[in-house]
């Protein structure tokens, strides 16, 4: 059994609250662990709503910020302790696609600037012709042709086109892992399938794994292999995507799934739900289950100590809830 491709061990990230800083501290991510294996290529979904810590996780993995405690290991090497050469290798093998398909382009340059940067830095080509070929190959994978788009400015392309170009850019490096942070949430509904389909094809044909970060459980359900559901910085439920979504165990996940509007006018929400007026639920509390204020099945012990992950019988399914204690 080879070492895993990426291993996140008990990572905690706390913002603010330090010695010289003002403001309360925010526990963005707490004791988060995740493993991605080299083989087979998989789409691992990190699902969560606002405040769940998923954006923080993306930033940690991409090395934009460092963990407060815990480790992020890539092929056994601590991401925070990499030297220049290792860092370059890391950038080559771990790439990203972000949510906003406009912001990621520098408005001063034509769109091919994003490709040129990569080619130059990673020496992907020795001549301009070769560079052009490399770009063309990447664009073809996402269903575009260089001559139609490369000389344009960002505002001249549609959101869907820009996002596909970003995927092409990531692909060009032939990475092992692409972190996709809400790649389709700002793309029109009718164009989302195209981008999700590209992700699936990259997984199947090119063995590229994805870390698909999203708040939309429906798309996660359609393309994810494995899913981690976060709530306010802690893992709530983990497992095989179909198992978790068809059979949710954690009270939060159950509430979440039942609140997704079903596109069928005959199946309307039957019961009303209420949220406690204190909807601002994040506190400085580091112990106790985060979902306590909203949970209909809560018990006293839930507020004193955070429940660990319990494995469900014989399935690829773990839940952080005392209801399932063995």
């Amino acid at each position: 059994m080879s070492q895993p491709l990426m291993e996140i061990r008990d990572v905690t990230k706390i913002f603010g609250g330090g010695f010289l800083q003002s403001g309360d501290k925010i526990v963005a991510l707490q004791d988060f662990s995740l493993t991605i294996h080299e083989e087979p290529a998989m789409i691992t979904t990190i699902a969560g709503e606002s405040g769940s810590g998923k954006t923080t996780l993306a930033n940690l993995i991409l090395g934009f910020i460092g963990p407060t405690s815990g480790q992020i290991l890539y092929k056994g090497q601590d991401v925070g302790a990499m030297n220049g050469e290792q860092r370059l290798e890391y950038r080559r093998e771990v790439q990203a696609v972000f949510q906003d398909p406009y912001e990621v382009y520098n408005p001063f340059y034509r769109v091919k600037h994003v490709f040129d940067l990569v080619i130059r830095r990673f020496n992907l080509a020795r001549s301009r012709r070769e560079a052009r070929d490399v770009i063309e190959e990447a664009l073809n994978v996402v269903g575009m042709r260089g001559e139609e788009v490369l000389e344009k400015y960002p505002h001249q392309l549609s959101g869907g086109q820009r996002q596909r170009m970003m995927v092409a850019r990531a692909f060009m490096l032939k990475p092992r892992l692409i972190v996709a942070d809400e790649p389709v949430s700002m793309v029109d509904a009718s164009l989302r399938a195209m981008i999700l389909d590209i992700m699936l094809r990259m997984r199947d044909e090119f063995n590229i794994s994805f870390l698909y970060i999203t708040h939309d459980l429906s798309t996660a359900y359609q393309i994810g292999d494995w899913i981690y559901i976060l709530y306010q910085g802690s893992m709530a439920e983990i497992g095989d995507t179909v198992t978790v979504i068809e059979n949710p165990k954690h009270p939060y996940v159950q509430q979440l799934i039942s609140s997704i509007p079903v596109p069928d006018p005959t199946e309307r929400w039957d019961t009303d739900i209420t949220l406690p007026p204190e909807e601002e639920l994040r506190g400085q509390v580091e112990s106790g289950c985060r979902f306590y204020p909203r949970c209909s099945s809560r018990m006293d012990r839930c507020i004193t100590k955070r429940p660990p992950l319990y494995r469900m019988d014989g399935q690829d399914h773990e839940v952080a809830c005392y209801l399932y204690e063995r």
């Binding site: 709503e49 164009l191 359900y221 359609q222 393309i223 979440l256 006018p265 929400w269 007026p277």
Partner: protein, 326 residues
Amino acid sequence: MGAQANEQNLVLQVKDLRVHYATPTGDVIACNGVDFQVYRGETLGLVGESGCGKTTAAMAILRLVQPPGRILHGQVLVDGVDMMSLNEGELRQARWRQVALIPQGAMNSLNPVMRIKDQIADGIQTHEGQQPREELKERILELLNMVGLPGRVYNMYPHELSGGMKQRVCIAMAIALHPSLVIADEPTSALDVVVQRVVAQTMLEVKDRLGVSMILIGHDMGLQAQLVDRIAVMYAGNMMEIAPVQDIFEQPLHPYTQLLIDAIPSIKERKPLKVTEGLTHDLRNPPPGCVFHPRCASPRATARCHEEVPVLHEVAPRHYVACHPE
């Protein structure tokens, strides 16, 4: 379900609305002769993707279109009165009292340095003149109650409230003067799923108790299915299909509507993704004939679609489509 379809019960009638945006290389046609109606007591869903003109239409109803946009043509009858014929003073009276708008991102546009009570009071007093303090307070508390917010919110500042609560404040402001029609533009798109459900419930409740008619602009078909009575589908400035919500989902007649319905990712079963070619035309240069024909994959498409613009006509009871018949 739904109101009687006759002239007396019309709250809003939009006829041949044309709105253009000037750009140096030509006019962008935002609304191209849009027709639709809203009956008393019903909720009309206005759906479409980016650039379809739904927000522009909403702004045009209230004559809030700013340069470089301009309304070329059209009648907007609210309770029988043509908004286009009103002068500035009459228009200001009509806005908020007859038609209220909850614009996109309203919850982020609350004045951060004013308490909630003052913001709502401001809105009321601007239109109705100075009010006796006790009565005003009663009214505001009643409004807050109607949207499910606790009385404490009266004295709070926007930053002390969560997203869902802020949005409900915006709903309260919109119904403060008991308008006949409320237009809500993407009221829940920035909210988490569970909070979205709470806000959606609030809107339904408000509608039931006040009997106010609503236009719900959005792109989330699932949410539309839960909330509206009829749906109007727009594409690139044109109205493509209007029908009762059930008919839209069970029997979408326009190819674009079918595309939108197909694109909804299901949370119930995993299916292969339906990928569609996304090339939308330049909005300054619409193709001749039906504006959707470059993307139309319908087997019923003929040469006529390239030449002749289809007119919105009734194909089944209360079901209108802008598509050439066989």
